[in-house]
């Protein structure tokens, strides 16, 4: 199929990438004797020295459990943990840092909302609107909730370029829905949804809106007040922070009315044999010892991203996508999925090479030092819609270069040579 690329990508990157790369120790390593070309950022990102130092600093200098001790080290660690919450709140434009709940990842964030808000608000016969673009983390919790309470999940389709079918979404919203749970940016296709328009429409139809921002918060400015969603979730490990960090943001008035998700230590204010009173927000939702070192790492990652500038990071990734898309398109036998423009897509590029399974592609790439994801990307609804079992996916971040895109192109040619296609 001939592909016409529409213009729109920036002509150059606004970032000093060489300077950024020097901050990431892992980027200087080699794999199978080749320089590491890390293009799996939609799966997880790498950590700059400042994040590693912030975390080892806790262990080496003042580690103690948070919210409990009345001694110096506990107070210092608690302060660093709560300061991270303030940083995250500022990053996403939250009115109040009590609206930011630390969780392990976006998946846990969706589950928190599904169990806590969902079980009190979604009843038999209610409708939940989802989309074919959703990561399993934003689909399976709703599917299972619907099964448990007798609700219905409706899945909105995409068009052939991967854009959400707005006509279908509007029609479903008109029929009424308790919840719209959808993604800001697709982890499978890189397509960016017109979030604000969709949220406005959903609210007009009376639906509460959860936004999966796991592929957005790391890559572009996100402001919960501007987007006007009701819940937003994201993972720290996709934004230079360690695995085990992440957050769910919710409107204060919703969070206050919600029951806790997990019960136990730290989330209580008073316990007797007969009853328990919950702690205040946000700690009502943070049972047990939090992954506080990870959360402190997330705070350091927010500092790093803010210093570089998320608008610039977004431009850089659009620049790389604009560089990569035509180069991949012109390779015979390569099929690209998703929009063929950088207007409403980011640097997540899913493709297939005719005659080679994505896992074979990724194995051959690995020998060239090129790390990509091969598989269904926790996105089986999308794979079914695309009519393929799997794709190969390259995904960019602030530290990637055009040289690395060239390495990706060379790796595709190597794979084709090995398979004689």
């Amino acid at each position: 199929m001939a592909v016409t690329l529409r213009p729109g990508a920036p002509a150059r990157s606004p970032l000093d990438v060489a300077k950024i790369r020097a901050d990431f120790p892992i980027l200087a390593t080699t794999v199978h004797g080749k320089p590491l070309v890390y293009l799996d950022n939609a799966a997880t990102s790498q950590q700059p020295r400042s994040v590693i130092d912030a975390m080892s600093g806790v262990f080496e200098e003042h580690n103690a459990n948070i919210h409990r001790g009345v001694y110096e080290y506990s107070e210092r660690t608690t302060a660093a943990f709560e300061e991270s919450r303030e940083k995250v709140a500022r990053l996403i434009g939250a009115r109040d840092s009590r609206e930011v709940i630390f969780v392990r990842n976006a998946t846990e964030g969706v589950n928190l909302v599904a169990y806590s808000w969902g079980r009190d608000n979604i009843k038999r016969g209610d409708r939940i609107i989802s989309t074919v673009l959703e990561h399993h983390s934003d689909f399976v919790p709703w599917q299972q909730l619907a099964k448990d309470v007798g609700a219905e999940v409706v899945v909105v389709d995409i068009d052939d370029e991967g854009r959400l079918r707005r006509d279908q979404l509007s029609a479903e919203l008109r029929k009424g829905a308790k919840l719209l749970a959808f993604t800001h940016t697709s982890n499978g296709l890189g397509v960016v949804n017109p979030v604000k328009e969709i949220v406005t429409e959903a609210h007009a139809a009376g639906a509460t809106v959860l936004l999966d921002a796991a592929q957005a918060v790391p890559h572009t400015p996100v402001d919960v007040r501007e987007l006007d969603c009701d819940f937003l979730v994201f993972s720290g490990h996709k934004m230079l922070a360690p695995p085990g960090s992440g957050a769910v943001w919710g409107r204060l008035e919703l969070l206050e009315r919600m029951r806790p998700f997990l019960y136990g230590g730290d989330m209580i204010s008073r316990v007797s044999v007969e009853r328990t009173e919950w702690n205040e927000l946000p700690w009502k939702f943070e049972a047990g010892t939090s992954s506080y070192v990870d959360a402190i790492g997330l705070g350091a990652a927010v500092d790093y991203l803010t210093a570089v500038g998320l608008a610039k990071i977004h431009e850089h990734e659009r620049f790389l996508a604009g560089y990569a898309l035509p180069r991949l398109t012109e390779i015979p036998g390569v099929t690209l999925y998703g929009p063929k423009t950088t207007d409403d897509r980011v640097g997540v590029i899913s493709f297939n090479i005719e005659g080679i399974h994505p896992h074979d592609v990724a194995t051959i790439f690995d020998r060239e030092g090129v790390c990509v994801r091969a598989g269904h990307h926790c996105n089986q609804l999308l794979m079914t819609r695309l009519g393929c079992a799997a794709t190969t996916r390259a995904s960019f971040y602030l530290y990637n270069t055009t040289d690395e895109v060239d390495a990706l192109v060379r790796a595709i040619h190597s794979a084709k040579k090995v398979f004689g296609v």
Binding site: P358, H359, D360, T363, A374, G375, H376, A389, F419
Partner: protein, 134 residues
């Protein structure tokens, strides 16, 4: 350039032996690796306790399909007991290439479907389970 993609592996992938339907099959079992989308259906014609014929159908990566092709070549004429005794090490040895840990499941899907067929297992998931999981 790559130890895993030797010529005979690619040959089995592109020209799979014993590929297709097996009319009159007595034992059939299908399975997949959801992670990568590899699929294999193994069909046996068992006569007098021995494999009189075998065919497989599938799609997926070179490792999974070559593994199935190689396996079907060696099992004709074997008894059910001999088939049930084939183990994972045997499959990996027969492939004759270094299989990275992430790809072992690809290599072993052929064995999984062969065992399912040999033991006469029902398809997975069972019909009842499929309905409730629907």
């Amino acid at each position: 350039m790559d130890d895993m993609y030797r010529d005979y592996i690619l040959d089995h992938y592109k020209n799979p032996r014993n590929s297709g339907d097996l009319p009159g099959a007595t034992n059939t079992y299908a399975d997949s690796n959801p992670l990568c989308g590899d699929e294999i259906t193994m069909a046996l014609l068992i006569d007098d306790g021995k494999v009189a014929d075998v065919r497989f159908k599938g799609k997926g990566c070179a490792i999974s399909q070559a593994s199935a092709s190689i396996l079907t070549e060696e099992i004709k004429g074997k008894t059910l007991d001999e088939i049930k005794a084939i183990d994972r090490d045997h499959i990996l040895q027969n492939l004759g290439i270094p299989i990275s840990p992430a790809r072992v499941k690809c290599a072993l899907l052929s064995l999984k479907t062969l065992k399912g067929a040999a033991w006469g297992l029902p398809a997975w998931p069972g019909e009842e389970e499929a309905k409730t999981a629907g």
